[in-house]
Subunit: 200 residues, 4 copies
Amino acid sequence: MDGGAIPRGGGREAIAAAAREVFHERGYHGASIRDIAGRAGLSLSALYYWHPSKQDLLAALIEEHTLEYFRRCDEALADIPLTDSTARLAALVRATVVYRVEQQVESNISAREWRNLEAGQGERLEGLRTKASTIWADIVDEGVRLGTFRCPHPADARRAAQAACNAIAQWYRPDGTLSAEDLVERYTLIVMRIVDAEPA
Amino acid sequence: MDGGAIPRGGGREAIAAAAREVFHERGYHGASIRDIAGRAGLSLSALYYWHPSKQDLLAALIEEHTLEYFRRCDEALADIPLTDSTARLAALVRATVVYRVEQQVESNISAREWRNLEAGQGERLEGLRTKASTIWADIVDEGVRLGTFRCPHPADARRAAQAACNAIAQWYRPDGTLSAEDLVERYTLIVMRIVDAEPA
Amino acid sequence: MDGGAIPRGGGREAIAAAAREVFHERGYHGASIRDIAGRAGLSLSALYYWHPSKQDLLAALIEEHTLEYFRRCDEALADIPLTDSTARLAALVRATVVYRVEQQVESNISAREWRNLEAGQGERLEGLRTKASTIWADIVDEGVRLGTFRCPHPADARRAAQAACNAIAQWYRPDGTLSAEDLVERYTLIVMRIVDAEPA
Amino acid sequence: MDGGAIPRGGGREAIAAAAREVFHERGYHGASIRDIAGRAGLSLSALYYWHPSKQDLLAALIEEHTLEYFRRCDEALADIPLTDSTARLAALVRATVVYRVEQQVESNISAREWRNLEAGQGERLEGLRTKASTIWADIVDEGVRLGTFRCPHPADARRAAQAACNAIAQWYRPDGTLSAEDLVERYTLIVMRIVDAEPA
DNA sequence: CATGAATGAGCTTTCATTCAT
DNA sequence: AATGAATGAAAGCTCATTCAT
């Protein structure tokens, strides 16, 4: 069905790259392990040398993506004092928007395929998912506590802000005119309004 | 032969109800037409009497859901003058939030399974999808034109507002303490801030 | 691999017949469900319409064979008084030998493939297996109690007698010169000597 | 990567030990060469260094087991004159019963997996199998010729005796109360009755 | 309207085996 | 003497769909 069976280097990474493509195009259940192997330039059974199952492959991808997102968030927040909620939220928005734009495929897989993780893996990764919310909630809640953010319902503000930033991965087209930097600026503004940050 | 085989009245509606459940639980590709028939208390062949294919069944559901959402939006906006952007946006938020809460399953199916519509059906329904954005965009753009909304980037404001409202269907739990009315209030506020509506 | 794809009547029975052949020729794990379906003149998936799994198919066969053997034993013993141990044992030998000769394939499958029944089915069928020993043991033990049989170790006598009769299915060739009736006579004599029956 | 990976000294013997376990537990076709290698604490390729194929591994085991059984029989019979049929048969029963008890796994593999030897190996080993019958037949036939054994059908007596002794490997439990010596005594008696040996 | 029986294509997975190192 | 990585074939099973009744 697809002609692009080009090996891309060592097994494990070729498989991950191919799986990202195919899961993104067709979704977990719509993707066939044959497509993935073919797209990676490997035989079907070579794939099973690296991953014991399709489910494991999905879990590995999602974990990898999520950890990379966390790494970027941590890096962005590392040097900003806990008391500067506005700067911290701005940094988080930037990290998130940039990740959604640069790693669009990874973002969409993580967002859409969580639900297809089965019990065993699901629980281990459930913690990661919780953390993604916590990163945002900690900053928003602290800002509200300090009076920097004046939104009356911090939990909903956080959900709205996250949803807005995450949605970028769904509609962004890299061949358009909007740069990541443009989006960072626009969404920072939007998120600041959502939490009702005091003017700078 | 099947666990949840609950007959639910006439064929067509029983099938729709069962399909909604199964598509929601497992996604389009993860759902089997056997599960759906079983859940509807019907034989496989009975299902094929009503729908020529699995794909058609999905398209019928999505169309039905979308038209119902439009119906609610139209009803909500019917009596509000085109010049009162704030009232129109508030009405749209209310219609959307209520729909996401009351028709949570329908909302999630429509949001997640669009991508699994095949070419033929897809194009016919593509118009519906566009319209969902247009309803929002028309109001936001008009508000900006009139100076009622002061957001600098109306397209992004619209995307953010829609994403925030749509996301409700993903996290809302009907057994919690939040009523639909609570959410209408909260999300109206949030959306007004996103578009930077002038204070009332 | 085999040309004899001749339908033999309704699905269920054609499958049983084919499965008997293939399990007998290749053993449970060596048999492929494709071979069985082909030999039955059916498609692979038709087989799954009748049996949910290969394992279930094996269990169904073994149960059927075992029940038929029991039926024959019960019939053979029905009219013989409990006190006439010699006549009862002779009848059991006859029923067993005739079954091993007439239903050679069924006998061999049951003997060899018990071990491949998995936990769930295994336990249900375990009772049947126990009963096969009990039928013999009841007669031998009663004969010993009455003094009709004088063997010092009834349990081992029973095992030896059963093993000797059961083994017939392994070596008997229907195109040879030995009739079932010949074997009944010979093995009755052997078994009587094993239990050390008093001369008639 | 594997549960029971216990290194057991040099390659060849470790493989034989592991193969015996796995073939015994699952049968030839149910056993995987990966299981065997893992159980032996070796890599898959190490196994192929010692044995060119799974089939060869089975043949090697069966040959080894059979030759060891013959060695024991020959040893047991070495000093008994050909004219003393009773003593020779008793010695053969002893050798067989002891082997079935002490080498239970080996006995069962040889008995069950003959049928899975393919043409090439099968023919070479067919001679061994014939010899196993011949050892018994020679003694029984000679005893009948000499008038020591009075059974009317020596071939069936031999089959019954062999079947009874061989079956021990199927039911014997080493943790029970029966010793090998007990069984030797009991089965000698049984076999003597089967061949109708004249009283000592 | 509805069913029971069947199908062909496809699925994920496992197998025995190979080969460069 | 041994390994890690790979393969092609085949396994058991499920799928959406069809058709005679």
